[in-house]
């Protein structure tokens, strides 16, 4: 979800000036100019192509991109919502969606979807549901991410272990992690990092536990605890660096520098993995190993319309276009993210033939949507401080989980009271 944040911060400033007042704004014929809020500079070229294609279909509507770096995207958006200067159409994520929908600042799309027959069913169902609130659809997905098991074939060969595949369970991961760990080379078999989207949530769901269900926290649930124990156990046994070490170099960096043999990571990182020569050569990817059940976390961004927009009809035309096949194909060709439109992902798969990227798409079948509620950030912020010690090899994951469950329930109760 926070991919390329550094890049976003560093590149956005010059791009901001490059985009606002850009060539899409040359509309003199009395047409409508929409503003489109997004945060990822890497996706600007692709978006410009989509906008050009849209323009061909709707010559009277032009779209101007408003790029805000990730670090300030949400505060800026909230402030501009209050001031009435928010973009007409903008990017939304699961963490923030319900807060916006519940406060009535997003335009309901269900009616439009029905009358214009927007191909919602061609997008992953779990993802579409993420952007519905109390039975009304407010956002249409544009892309998605799942988590896969990235592994280093060279390290596997050295240890004489066969590569991970669809048959792998947590036991296989544990066995392999033990074999792959080499303290003298400071190589670890696995990176059991404290990261909610990439490690904690997949492990909880893989153990058949849950993060959030019917307004209640699942962290106190025995199965959820079992999932987290799978992670902290790796730290306790020395098969994974402790969290205290991964504060300084995160699991992803350790995987890049071949100091970690297996790592759970996002599909969106494929491009960056591909840019590392060693990993392009001997990096592999497989579906997540099975715990009590198969699971991965799916998340993706959606396009939403501001309820305060004065150009809602045009905005809907644009959002409708972006939920269709043509826009998805352009996005996939640009290769940054996986388009959520079914059957348009081929271009992405082909862009990195050395990696078995198809697993990321297969995993949709059993993917669990990213858990969220009205004020997700509040209970998400409880996680790292409470779980930190257990992830650093200090033990006590069971009591930490129960404590987290209790505090999260309290936060959820407060959320409902508002």
């Amino acid at each position: 979800m926070r991919r390329r944040t550094l890049l976003g911060g560093a590149l956005a400033a010059p791009l901001l000036t490059a985009c606002s007042g850009g060539d899409d704004d040359t509309d003199g014929g009395g047409g409508t100019t929409l503003t489109y809020g997004m945060w990822d500079p890497a996706q600007v070229p692709g978006m410009k192509k989509i906008i050009a294609a849209f323009r061909k279909e709707q010559p009277r509507i032009s779209v101007r991109i408003e790029l805000t770096p990730w670090a300030t995207y949400w505060t800026t958006l909230k402030t501009s919502m209050r001031g009435g200067t928010a973009p007409d159409v903008f990017w939304m994520n699961a963490v923030n969606f319900q807060l916006y929908a519940a406060n009535g600042v997003l335009e309901p799309l269900s009616g439009h979807i029905r009358s214009d027959r927007t191909p919602v069913d061609r997008h992953p169902e779990a993802l579409v549901k993420l952007y519905a609130y109390e039975g009304t659809q407010y956002g249409l997905p544009k892309d998605f991410d799942t988590i896969g098991l990235w592994y280093n074939k060279a390290l596997f060969d050295k240890a004489g272990i066969t590569y991970p595949d669809e048959t792998w369970t947590w036991d296989d991961v544990r066995d392999a992690a033990a074999e792959l760990t080499d303290p003298r080379q400071r190589v670890h078999g696995f990176a059991a990092e404290m990261d909610r989207q990439m490690k904690i949530y997949p492990a909880v769901c893989g153990a058949d536990g849950y993060v959030l269900k019917d307004g209640r926290s699942g962290f106190g649930d025995e199965r959820s605890i079992e999932g987290l124990r799978f992670l902290t156990d790796m730290v306790d046994r020395g098969w994974s660096p402790p969290q205290s070490a991964m504060v300084e170099s995160v699991g992803r960096v350790r995987y890049w520098s071949e100091k970690v043999a297996m790592n759970y990571d996002l599909s969106a990182m494929a491009g960056q993995m591909y840019a590392v020569p060693a990993l392009k050569d001997h990096g592999g990817v497989a579906v997540l190993p099975k715990g009590r059940r198969r699971a991965t976390i799916i998340h993706g961004l959606a396009n939403v319309i501001s309820a305060k927009s004065r150009k809602k009809a045009a905005a809907w035309q644009f959002v409708h276009f972006m939920a269709g096949r043509e826009a998805a194909e352009i996005q996939a060709r640009e290769g940054v993210t996986i388009s959520s439109y079914e059957g348009t992902q081929d271009a992405w798969l082909k862009s990195m033939p050395e990696f078995d990227l198809k697993h990321f798409i297969e995993m949709q079948k059993y993917a669990v949507p990213y858990p969220s509620s009205k004020n997700t950030t509040v209970w998400e912020n409880l996680q790292y401080p409470i779980l930190g010690a257990a992830f650093s090899g200090k033990g006590g994951i069971e009591s930490a989980c129960r404590k987290l469950g209790g505090q999260m329930d309290r936060a959820l109760k407060e959320e409902r009271a508002v």
């Binding site: 916006y100 404290m194 205290s244 504060v247 004020n375 950030t377 509040v378 650093s392």
Partner: protein, 314 residues
Amino acid sequence: MSVFPATAAAKAKERRASEAAPRPGSRNQRAAYWFIAPLGIGFALFYFWPLLQTFYFSFTEFGAFGGHTFIGTDNYARVIQDVTVWQALVNTLIYSVIGLTALPIAIVIASLLNRRGLRGVSVYRALYFVPFVTLPVAVGLVWNWLYNGDFGLLNEILGWFGVDRHYWVSDPSTAVYAIGTVMVWSTTGYYLIIFMAGIKGIPQDYYEAAELDGAGALRRFFTITLPLLSPTIFFASVICMINSLQTFDLIYIMMGEKNPAIGDTQSVVGLFYKWAFIENAQGAAAALAFLLMVVIAALTYLQFRLQKRWVHYA
């Protein structure tokens, strides 16, 4: 508040100035009001008005997208009941105690730099001052590299003496002190400049007389320098205390989000930032900010009360 210390000499000058002040209502005095007007307006607009607003907002609940409702003292109840607030307060007090150690260090260096005949004083002064003018973000990043558990310089050096490698900023037992050390490192230069000026204000005759009487360097330091520097030390300690109580950026940069020691290092202002800008609890954050102001005011008052016991105005 002035950057320069109220040294004994300056105090005396001030007294003389006030004796010679023009009578109320004179033309001179009206001119004075005009001169301080820009500052006064700035203070009212950017300090006093936000203060009143914060106080008001601390009794309200904010909507995520504008509007607020009056909810009485609920925010204060929340602040008082929240364990993380107390933890942050304790951490913040630890930072201020650690931060104060910059003062003795600065005094010792300042008195060494003030030795007669020492060459290249301005070079030293500049070198010591550089950390203070460097952005806390840059300081934090560099120190994170030095502290790094896997390849940091600190562990490397300790390794020569057989000390095991340690994750300084992510182990809850050392993180506060690791950050505190950086705070001291980056502020010592500032106090050094203040103390050097303060020492310069001490008449050289005292030292010469003491030397004739056979007092050694240490004796001169403790019986002349320290007592006569006490007004400066008092000023510096008040500033230092306030700065440490408001500390935020260095911790924010050095800790990151997933640090297991985050609860053990978070300052009150850090918590304020989290509430106000991430968790959408502006009302409670305002209450927290107001309480911090009360704490700072109380501690500063205490310092002013205690100064009578140890500060000598010559």
